[in-house]
Symmetry: C2
Subunit: 357 residues, 2 copies
């Protein structure tokens, strides 16, 4: 049975992207690679909606979060971080591991933070605000556009983890005043996992100069220096095949047009939620903070539903994560997703519910 990945990542990869991955086998110091990597760098600026360089590292998205921490901070730096779930907590844990003093704005699971809450918590001694855009563990989003409007004239660096939303939900790095924006290849960017991408604003580059945490593999300055060479390259051997794949996937997004991509995600998400509610299933997430890329459905029968959908229908979804295990199922609808995949998912979900309830 051909499985359809309706998880919050890795997501389905188009055949065209898989074929390009297979056929991108070149040496990383050649003009041939430089052309592909140069195209990817331009394509990333488009999907990030930024004029800033977007750095690429061979790593999981968590590596991208670590890279942001070690390039932007010194031990003892004080920052404000928002937690609305597992991934917000992870970003905080990484920061603390490297000696940051983190004041945490805890928001109840299932909703996002408000601008007023940020306003109440952000203080002059904070040198950055860190938050997750799309909290993969709860299906809730933080209003990063409105927060960006508030952060616009502030001294703090505005850092956003958009691993499970960038390329699916609307995000405009420059217009929304985001200084550091992190994502990964295997979610809405419809490529296989193994690459993390990080956009860095001029304001953030100034902060990189001041930051004293040791860094070698994750060094932003070396990555930028090498990608801006006449033949764009990487300080260390890049994941060549994955770069070929990501470049092809972003070409597909350019062909569709980013506005159309956002619209497709928005429509499919709204349709999916409406149908889920028709099945009598409650959403886990507060209706004011719903994600365009993932839906969390509250149920204690998650593990059974997940198993039936996978084994009988070939639809792979996710359960609750860490402390949220057993409280929900999570369905990803991002990247290479269309109406038919959503319909198949609904059929499988309906079948599974009838069997377990």
């Amino acid at each position: 049975m051909q499985m359809i990945l309706m998880t919050p990542g890795p997501t389905n990869v188009p055949e065209r992207v898989l074929e390009k991955m297979k056929n991108t086998q070149c040496h990383h110091r050649t003009k041939e690679f430089g052309k592909i990597f140069g195209e990817l760098n331009e394509g990333l600026k488009y999907v990030f909606q930024t004029k800033n360089p977007v750095l690429t590292f061979p790593a999981a998205g968590t590596g991208g979060l670590e890279a942001a921490i070690v390039n932007l901070f010194s031990p003892g730096d004080r920052v404000l971080a928002v937690s609305i779930g597992v991934f917000g907590d992870r970003f905080i844990e990484i920061g603390r591991t490297f000696g940051l003093q983190i004041d945490v704005l805890e928001v109840p699971r299932g909703r996002g933070v408000t601008v007023e809450e940020i306003q109440g918590a952000l203080r002059d001694e904070h040198i950055a605000l860190i938050l997750t855009h799309n909290e993969t563990s709860t299906g809730a989003v933080n209003p990063i556009k409105e927060i960006g409007e508030f952060m616009k004239d502030k001294s703090q660096i505005y850092i956003v983890d958009a691993v499970s939303s960038l390329g699916g939900s609307e995000i405009r790095m420059d217009n929304w005043h985001i200084d550091v924006l992190i994502t990964a290849s295997q979610k809405a960017l419809m490529s296989p996992p193994g690459l993390t991408f990080i956009g860095v604003s001029d304001k953030a580059w100034e902060q990189v100069e001041k930051a004293k945490l040791p860094r070698f593999y994750w060094d932003f300055k070396k990555a930028r220096r090498d990608m801006e060479k006449a033949t764009p390259q990487n300080p260390y051997t890049p994941a060549v095949a994955l770069i070929g794949a990501a470049n092809e996937a972003i070409k597909m997004m350019q062909e569709e047009g980013l506005e159309a991509v956002f619209e497709r995600h928005k429509k499919l998400a709204a349709y999916f939620r409406k149908e889920v509610e028709k099945l009598g299933l409650p959403l886990y997430t507060d209706e004011n903070y719903l994600s365009d890329t993932i839906t969390a459905i509250a149920t204690v029968k998650g593990e059974e539903i997940k198993k039936i959908m996978e084994t009988q229908y070939g639809i792979v979804i996710a359960g609750g994560q860490d402390q949220l295990k057993g409280t929900m199922i999570r369905v990803g609808h991002m990247g290479y997703v269309d109406q038919d995949m959503i319909d198949r998912t609904l059929t499988a979900l309906k079948g599974a519910i009838e069997e377990v309830c």
Copy 2:
């Protein structure tokens, strides 16, 4: 023109491995992935010749070197490191970046270190010996077997970077008393780049417990914990397609048999060197320290030769690296390499020399 990669990595990837990479698209928390990852973990033990767990991270080989440093040391720890070229220097630079005190045993470029030199330099206050097995920048090898014999009863941790040799040259982690052994997917393991693999002995695990450098993404203990679960997995999203590829490549090595793989590399390397010398080209490397996986040829016309071989014959080789640029060409003969590829390379080399000399 179909290019043949005779560089010191990335190397040619067999079609069977490329096809498996393309077809390995599953979610990383499923039994399907667990089976593949579990097989890879066993296969890695075979190619490392160890009973120890071999950890996998999505990263370049340089990430593997950084992972070893941050998991094994505390700031201020004193170690002895050997440099015989660019990669030895890089390992030292990483160590210093993270606050290690490193005493460097400098060996002239083109040869390896001797056991006597190690004996003369290693002191009680050193808690580790760090060296590169196969120095990709000079084509010289360090005698890691003999050094291992010497290190056997020492208190120091014996750390070997075998990025450009493991799976090609003979290496036996356990029998040779190596405590930490690092490699990457894109060299003799004939897979696309993007994965680093690290073998860790019991003695090194004890040292991990003492080491205080902060680590999150590279955390050895979390990686081991998750790979030893009933369904083997990774702390963060692994590079699923690359893991499928590496698993397939190692299966091919198991089918050929590791002894036969070593023998093939040894024979092809000896044949290639003999033919190079017949062309009147001097080797860059001291004859007592020749590599089975890479040959460095001394020439000031390297850039021209490289260009002709690539554009007219479709054979991609490498020039000198960093300070060694313009002094040599480097030909990799590792991984998925056979007599025919060596012969084509020699034909191209001959043609290029006739044109430039």
